[in-house]
Every structure is written in C-alpha cells, then in structure tokens.
Subunit: 210 residues, 2 copies
C-alpha cells in the first residue's frame, strides 16, 4: 500500500475501510467524502472513479457494518456446545446467543450499529452476506427441527424475535433506556421475553421471575 505512488492500487477497498473506521467513531455523520479521501491519501475527486456519489459509498459502508453484525452472530452461534443428553438445548442456547450478540454489538459499537441501519429503505445493490435475518431464520428452523419450537409458532417467530432484539438495540444505542433500568437487565429481559413469546423453554442457566 505505497502512498507515494500516483496510482493508489486498490482505492475502493481502502475507502470502504476508512469509512468503516470513521463510522465506528462518529456514526453516519462522520461519513464525509473529503475526510475519507484524505484518510486514504487521495484527492476528493478520486472517489468518483469508484463510487457514483457519496450516497453509494455510504450505502456500502452501511452494508459492511450489517455484515459485521451478522458475522458476530454466526461466531457466537458456532461457539455453543451441544449437550449429548439434551438434543434441543443447543438450539435454545443458540437463539439466546445470537440475540445477545445482536444487542451487545449495538452496545459495543453504537455508532457502527447506527450506520448499519441508516439506509431509509434504499434498494440494495446486492444482499448482505451474511445476513442477520438469515442467521435468525436458521436458528429458528433448528428449534423446530429439535422440537423446541412448535411449528404453528414458526411463522410469526422471526417477526417477534427480530423486532424485540432490534428494538432493544435501538433503545440502548440512542440512550433511551429510562432509569433505573440497566443495560444488562434490559438485555436479559428482552431475550427471555422472546422465549416466552415463542413458548420456548428457558435454558437451565436462566434465572428470572418464576
């Protein structure tokens, strides 16, 4: 990545990387063409050789942020160990884990989370890979396959889980959690609430009301 050359080499990915860094610190507002160009060691107009305009660059950064979120979910899901004595408990713990990963990503990287969902229903050039929604669908299918989620609940399940987890993430990111609630209990309540709405049993490690 020589910076003294007239040609940058792979400016496009460098710009995206710079955008990700900026968004991590300052959110969508920090995605500024001139800043990203400077950070990439290039003049402002060079950006237009790789993106039609700033909106497209921002959209790509946003998509990249969404994929980071989905990767975090996949990562924790894979880390869940199966219990040979209880076939379904693994699937239950995976649902718990991906939900937590989602909210905790938002808590850990609030600005990046904001960037991930800043797009106002813009038609995506191509789908996210991986996609958080697909990870959720997979986890729910697992629950049905192991008999932990009744098939009649399968249809609405993703809506219920997604809205609850995404909503709590937004609340935490925006600092909208009213006192005296604490983020940790809010996360626990949300995750447990999803299980109850889905009529899925709690894992043994769960301690809650009743």
């Amino acid at each position: 990545m020589p910076t003294d050359r007239y040609h940058h080499g792979n400016l496009r990915s460098t710009l995206l990387e710079a955008g990700l860094s900026a968004a991590r610190l300052g959110g969508p507002a920090a995605l500024q063409l001139r800043d990203l160009a400077t950070a990439s060691g290039v003049s402002p107009s060079a950006v237009y050789r790789h993106f039609p305009d700033m909106a497209h660059l921002s959209a790509e950064v946003s998509r990249s942020a969404r994929e980071s979120l989905a990767k975090a979910m996949l990562s924790v899901a894979k880390a869940v160990v199966e219990d040979p004595k209880d076939a379904g408990i693994g699937a239950i713990r995976r649902l718990d884990a991906i939900g937590r990963a989602y909210i905790e990503f938002a808590e850990r990287e609030p600005q990046l989370f904001d960037t991930a969902f800043m797009t106002a229903g813009a038609a995506p050039s191509c789908a996210d890979d991986p996609s958080a929604w697909d990870v959720l669908i997979g986890a729910l299918d697992d629950l049905v396959a192991t008999g932990e989620l009744h098939p009649s609940r399968r249809h609405d399940a993703p809506l219920i889980a997604w809205s609850a987890v995404h909503g709590m993430s937004g609340v935490l990111v925006r600092g909208m959690l009213p006192p005296p609630y604490l983020p940790e209990e809010a996360i626990n309540a949300t995750i447990a609430g999803v299980r109850e709405a889905l009529q899925v049993r709690h894992p043994p490690e769960f301690v809650g009301t009743r």
Copy 2:
C-alpha cells in the same frame, strides 16, 4: 400572520411548524436551516434569534414529533370502552391499542417517526409532554391493578413491550420487513407476542395460533 412586516411576530413557533412539515415529507435530512427560514418568510440568520444553532431547532422538532406519537397513543387509549362484565379486558385492550397506535404512527408517518428518534442520546432540555414511555407505564399499571398482569412481571414488562413495539416500527419504517411478510400481520404478531411474553390473556377478538 402578515408576511410583509419587518417583525414576524412569533417566528419561533412558525419555524417549528415549518420544521414539522418538512420532516413529515423528507425526514431529518429535510431539516435545513435555509429552507425553514424561507418557508417562514424570513432570512436565514433570523433563526439564530430563537435557536442557538440548527441542532437545537432540529431537536425541538424531533421532540414535537415524539409528542405527536404519544398523543396518538393517548387518543386511542381513551377511545377504548370498558366492559362492565369484565373489569380487566379494558386494560388489555388499551395495551393493545397503544402498541398498535405506536406502530401505525410509524407506518403512516415514516419520515416523522424517523425524525422523532434521530437524536443520538442528546440530553433533552426538558422531558416530552406527553411521553410515550409514560403512556406505556400507565397502561401496565392498569393491567396490574385489574389483576391481568402478575406483579412479578411488572418490572420487566415495559422493557419487553417497548423494545418489541419500537423495534417493529423501525423495521417497517426502514422497509426492512422481508417478503413474504405483510405489515399488517407483522403488527399483529408483535402485539400478540408482547401479550404472550407478559403472560397476559388475549382479548376475545384476537384470532391467532392457538
């Protein structure tokens, strides 16, 4: 509201009104100082006699949008009629109604909803009046008072209801509802899911899985 006078009269509220109109159509991005000044028949710098900067004006518009949302919730809650034969059913229907009102406000006025929650945890100059959160708290207290919500569930209840309803609103506003789901069934699923998570009985008019 004479527009040919040197002094406007009540520019502050006119600017807020113009901001609300603009936000309704174009969301937070449409809140531009020069546009609002022009729409109010005034020069750009006049704005600074009433707001320290554009961020404060935007914050006020945002708060006004949140209050509109809360008013919509209060309005439908008051419209719920009590059932003399069933003391608790009114409270149950009110929770249903305010949740629906919240999501349907977001669906009906997506840009305004976006504006309502655009503030990134900014310290509010003064609290919303009315506040959607307080409306929810009132509804939940009603449920406890009528014996429809178990007191042990009261603590987490607002977190569960708020995150689910707010989350689904955000999903709909951003056009993130994946096919083949339809907004209406998504709303129904979310509202019913809240009741199940809170272990509150469904109203008789509810038709859902089991």
